[in-house]
Amino acid sequence: MNKELLRIEGLKTYFDTWAGIVKAVDGVDIEVIEGETLGLVGESGSGKSVTALSIMRIVPSPGKIIEGKIIYKEENLLEKSEKALREIRGKEIAYIFQDPSTSLNPVLTIADQLLEVILAHQEISKKEALEKAIELLKLVEIPDPDVKIWNYPHQLSGGMKQRIAIARAIASQPNLLLADEPTTNLDVTIQAQILELMQNLRKRLGMAMILITHDMGVVADIADRITVLYAGRVCESADTKTIFYKAKHPYTQALLTAVPSLALRTDKLKVIPGNIPNLIEPPSGCRFHPRCEYAIEKCTEKIPELIEIEPGHKVACFRALEINLESPLGGAKNN
């Protein structure tokens, strides 16, 4: 059995806004094993980013972690002091944001932004830190690192900026990397470059990674396990193959079929009716029930628990075992 690195239990993070309390994350359970890549999949408003921010305890105001446990290396991060947490942020757990043009400070040079992170966690001289920063830029394959390091973010392309953001995240060789849609704003050919780079770095440095994305293609490619979120709750969690070939939650299934595929051409796409739910007054019971074709009376009344139906495969659906969902990829291929 692989060693567990991070476990989230019953996490609730709410935002107190003028319109009401937004229950962005409402009882999420996740675990990450050392050295693995966990794909955290969901659409906008599913709570995937908020979950990641909660792990670092940097949920921006008016957001607040209401309850739950975030256990990292057997210690609950939610009980730690702010000072102790600073030792973890950037050193043990690092974060890569979606849009490098907003996550890099526009008024500081690349050198400035890399050095401060290195110096915050390592007891070395400024000169050594600078050498290390250039080393990092080489690691993320930036051409002319000793020139580019003196640039400001706006002088670099989107792909380059994301490489810098990655360099900053791995500066202190963290154990866990939280990558929040790191390639969403990039072109596909650049996305391919960045994904490959991240995978190589992850293997080389032995990090675990939580990859947050809405793109099933990306997770199919690089995730070992996948957790699917919908409206602030976990629907399903299993290894990648199982999710794609033996999904048991109707939402997971819907995500797979609603996307036009390059491989097979259909005349009509299967549609998930309705819209993303409102998280101030979320639907009663199972949050997916208004859009679910398999919903029964019970689904509207009770919230389904996340249950392990076979080793490593958890589903939050009352009818997971009754209904027979067919993978769009064909069910037979896997075993």
């Binding site: 974060y95 401060e116 706006h154």
Partner: protein, 326 residues
């Protein structure tokens, strides 16, 4: 960068000319200044009037007069006063009065910035706390109280009732019964400066604090601030290194504008505190229709405002690298 400075400087020339034309027009709206000045004098003869007009060169066409003024201005000659000290040169008159004005204004703006930045930042970081509410309420009041009213209240309390500071003036007039504060002229000036500087500083401070606060609130929501926190930087670094510099970008422009407004408001502040600066001189000159002095002071204050604007522009370029590179 040099190119940028040169461009800004050249850019100011038409601006300056435009202002000059308006001011010049203002002094000539009523026609011949001599006629205005002598309107109250029943004894003056038509001939004397004409002589005066010719003496001041007012018989030439308006555009001609303007060009002469411009040419003299380039030579550093602002003409002679019509009334003060038997037609003293305006340059030397302003030379006497400008230093108290500069002293007051520059000390106030520096103090205002030194106080406003940390206060604004603290207020933004503790949004809706007691500190924040106190700071925002006080600042809001500060933007609403007329500066002369504030001056009168302060004089009433600190000069008349408490007697801590003098009610006005620049320096004690030495007589048998009076000496400089603690026997030193410098200390005496500082002692006289306390109240006007306090009022001016507060008036400048209030809008800047509100601006920094709101700008800071905006910046603190940005991803790069979140990223800095995610990298384990301590709060001081996150706030003062990452957030503040970005928050100052929109503030800088306004500081230039407020400073210009304060300078232009010098007549009011200096009148309240009986401060011997160009502002009070301006009020006296205007009341006596002493146009060369009026023009001279306006030119000087405009130039100071333009310099403040230039400094603002350069600071802007310094803070925001995106402007610098173009």
């Amino acid at each position: 960068m040099t190119r940028y400075i040169i461009r800004r400087l050249l850019y100011l020339i038409p601006l300056f000319l435009g202002i000059l034309i308006i001011v010049f027009a203002a002094t000539r709206v009523a026609g011949d200044p001599v006629r205005l000045m002598t309107a109250m004098n029943p004894h003056i003869t038509e001939e004397a009037r004409n002589n005066l007009t010719a003496y001041y060169g007012l018989d030439k066409p308006l555009w001609h007069q303007f060009l002469i003024y411009l040419a003299n201005l380039l030579k550093g000659d602002l003409g002679n006063s019509y009334v003060i000290r038997g037609g003293i040169e305006v340059t030397s008159l302003i030379g006497d009065y400008i230093w108290p004005t500069m002293l007051l204004q520059i000390v106030s703006i520096i103090l205002a910035l030194l106080i406003a930045i940390p206060v604004g930042v603290i207020s933004a970081r503790r949004k809706y706390s007691k500190t924040d509410v106190t700071v925002t309420t006080t600042s809001l009041l500060g933007t609403c109280i007329p500066i002369f009213y504030m001056g009168i209240i302060v004089i009433l309390i600190f000069a008349y009732y408490l007697g801590w500071f003098p009610a006005g003036g620049y320096v004690t007039v030495i007589s048998e019964s009076k000496d400089y504060f603690l026997g030193s002229r410098t200390l005496d000036i500082i002692w006289h400066m306390v109240l006007p500087v306090a009022v001016l500083t507060f008036a400048l401070l209030a809008p800047i604090v509100l601006l920094i606060r709101s700008s800071m609130l905006e910046v603190l929501k940005q991803d790069y601030v979140l990223a800095a926190r995610a990298n384990g930087l301590n709060d001081r670094k996150v706030v003062y290194k990452h957030a503040l510099r970005n928050a100052l970008i929109p503030v800088v422009t306004y500081v230039g504008i407020y400073f210009g407004a304060m300078l232009a408001g010098a007549p009011i502040t200096e009148t309240v505190f009986n401060w011997p600066g160009v502002g009070r001189l301006f009020v006296q000159a205007t009341n006596r229709l002493d146009f060369p002095v009026i023009m001279g002071i306006t030119v000087i204050i405009t130039l100071m405002t333009l310099i403040a604007n230039l400094i603002t522009d350069l600071t802007y370029g310094y803070i925001d690298p995106r402007i610098r590179v173009e």
